[in-house]
Symmetry: C2
Subunit: 150 residues, 2 copies
């Protein structure tokens, strides 16, 4: 049995941990950088979709995004055609921080891929995308309250 889960867990926690420490400099508290990046890259997105992208609980996303709003990084705007949803946009302050976040993420990405040939890096991405697609089906299934059978 090739144990890939543990490796993935270790890598994800290590990098998230590093990012959280490094982004405190920009007054972003734990986890917030990820939400801000998605909102910057998908202006007008709703929080439900952000939660789905990040694979976090809806209520966790709701509160993280509320904090981003309170601290002036993003804005929520009503939709004309749909009273239920709130579209999310980065403020100037949010947009200004964005490049610092991507710079850090790119650096970490580079560290992660140190010693990888271009071909290896490409293979890694390709395989990871397939794993992610496999896994997100189960995540949605379980999150909706269903029980996996095994």
């Amino acid at each position: 049995m090739t144990e890939i889960l543990r490796e993935i867990g270790m890598i994800a926690r290590a990098l998230d941990s590093i990012s959280n420490i490094e982004f405190k400099e920009y007054d972003l508290t734990k986890g917030q950088y990820a939400y801000l990046v998605r909102i910057c890259e998908h202006p007008g997105i709703i929080q439900e979709k952000v939660a789905g992208m990040l694979k976090v609980d809806r209520t966790t996303a709701a509160r993280a995004i509320k904090n981003l709003e309170t601290n002036g990084f993003i804005e929520k705007t009503a939709d004309i055609h749909n009273k239920k949803i709130k579209k999310l946009f980065p403020t100037e302050k949010g947009k200004n921080i964005y490049p610092f976040i991507t710079r850090e993420n790119n650096y970490s990405n580079g560290v992660a891929l140190e010693g990888f040939s271009d071909k290896e890096a490409e293979t890694m991405l390709y395989l990871l995308q397939r794993v992610r697609q496999n896994v997100e089906k189960d995540w949605e299934f379980v999150k909706k309250g269903h029980k996996r059978d095994y």
Copy 2:
């Protein structure tokens, strides 16, 4: 720039989320399954090492492990030669749950690798191990209070 970080983050959160939901059945609260598994597989390990294996904060590990002890899953025992450390061992209760955890983890591992040939799965593991080795250096560096230059 091949963006592998996001994929890894998504996969890790999705699988951790699923595991946490599924292990509530065994009275394990959020995150605890990971600690219990490491202690079962490395009886006598100290919590500092567990934190390093999981890439979590030392104090987070300390409290998770204390909870495992309080709930009777593990025991802490003093060392004869070293008064500072406390060795960790699973109790019978902990040992009894272990197979259920590995069963779930193996299932998730299988889901993650659905559609993968043996060779692809092997490649995935090999590449992930290299990424993990690259990343853990920076994690230790940053966790010790040093600043990465980029």
